[in-house]
Amino acid sequence: MDNQVAMWSLVMMVMVAMFIIRSAVNARRGHGNHKLFEMGDEFSMYDLGEDEL
């Protein structure tokens, strides 16, 4: 019975996660951003412009 509840809950969570991810992807694409994941590092803030150099 516990296994059944756990399995049922897992399947429900997978389904809800799929719905949420799809909404997130559509929202991101709707804003014109075709990159779904942004990878950045904090070091870009130390890039000095020509004037500062």
Partner: protein, 253 residues
């Protein structure tokens, strides 16, 4: 009424292809096209094949064959009815070829019914089925939720152009898992009815009925094609249901 036979033939083959795509039977397609061709004085031969329409007519003492692939559009009773009405409008002499083309363009570009309305109504219909098969209020509620989730998933996966067989399998799986909540959490007195009726929204009823209709008028190729498509979808639905039951370890088999 003087009609350019080539333009008329192109219109008719397009018309027949769209009628097929919208879920009309071969007898309806044949009658409608016959009706229009008679008014326009067009002699033709039409072959309705699975996936395409072949239309042969005489243009300037020369036989010409027009072939049109049937569009991959969803079954639409509205478009079916409007296209049939168009054939009567032409037969009554109220429409020229250009008017018919314009009316045809408006019909095929008409939007489908609002998907949220369809979603709620399909869920209510399945809830009704559960009641017909003897389900209690809790079973009806479970079926409503299972259909709501499964049908929404079906809409999303079809929008993403996933193969329909896979869509049916996945939707049947998730609907059946939701419906097993009656067994798992001991909800209601008729959990078996909820489990049995939760996937009814996926049954391809119209292709089955159309295949029988086509069989009766001798269109064996189309009948067999429609029947096999429907059978394949039913098989995928059954596999999804079985996977859901086996995963939940209900030991019904």
């Amino acid at each position: 009424m003087s009609i350019n036979p080539k333009e008329a033939a192109v219109f008719l083959v397009d018309y027949a292809a769209w009628l097929y795509g919208c879920g009309a039977t071969c007898s309806r397609i044949t009658k409608n096209v016959d009706r229009i061709a008679q008014v326009w004085g067009l002699k033709f031969e039409m072959n309705i094949l699975p996936g395409s329409i072949q239309f042969t007519t005489e243009v300037d003492d020369c036989s010409q064959v027009f072939i049109k692939k049937t569009p991959a559009t969803g079954i639409s009773f509205y478009k079916n009815t409007q296209l049939s009405k168009l054939s009567w409008g032409i037969a009554d002499g109220k429409m020229s070829l250009n008017d018919a083309k314009e009316a045809f363009r408006k019909i095929i570009t008409a939007p489908f019914t609002n998907k949220w309305v369809v979603l709620v109504l399909a869920s209510l219909a399945n809830l009704g089925f559960c009641r017909i098969f003897g389900g209690d209020a809790i079973a009806m509620g479970i079926v409503f939720i299972a259909t709501l989730a499964g049908f929404r998933l079906k809409q999303i996966l079809i929008e993403e152009h996933m193969d329909h067989k896979l869509v049916f399998l996945i939707c049947a799986f998730f609907s059946s898992v939701i419906a097993t909540s009656g067994y798992i959490f001991h909800l209601g007195d008729k959990p078996e009815v909820a489990l049995g009726t939760c996937v009814l929204y996926l049954i391809p009823g119209i292709p089955y009925i159309n295949s029988i209709s086509d069989l009766l008028v001798g269109e064996y190729l189309v009948a067999f094609s429609r029947f096999m498509n429907a059978l394949l979808l039913t098989f995928c639905l059954s596999v999804g249901l079985a996977c859901g039951i086996l995963l939940m370890n209900l030991q019904l088999f």
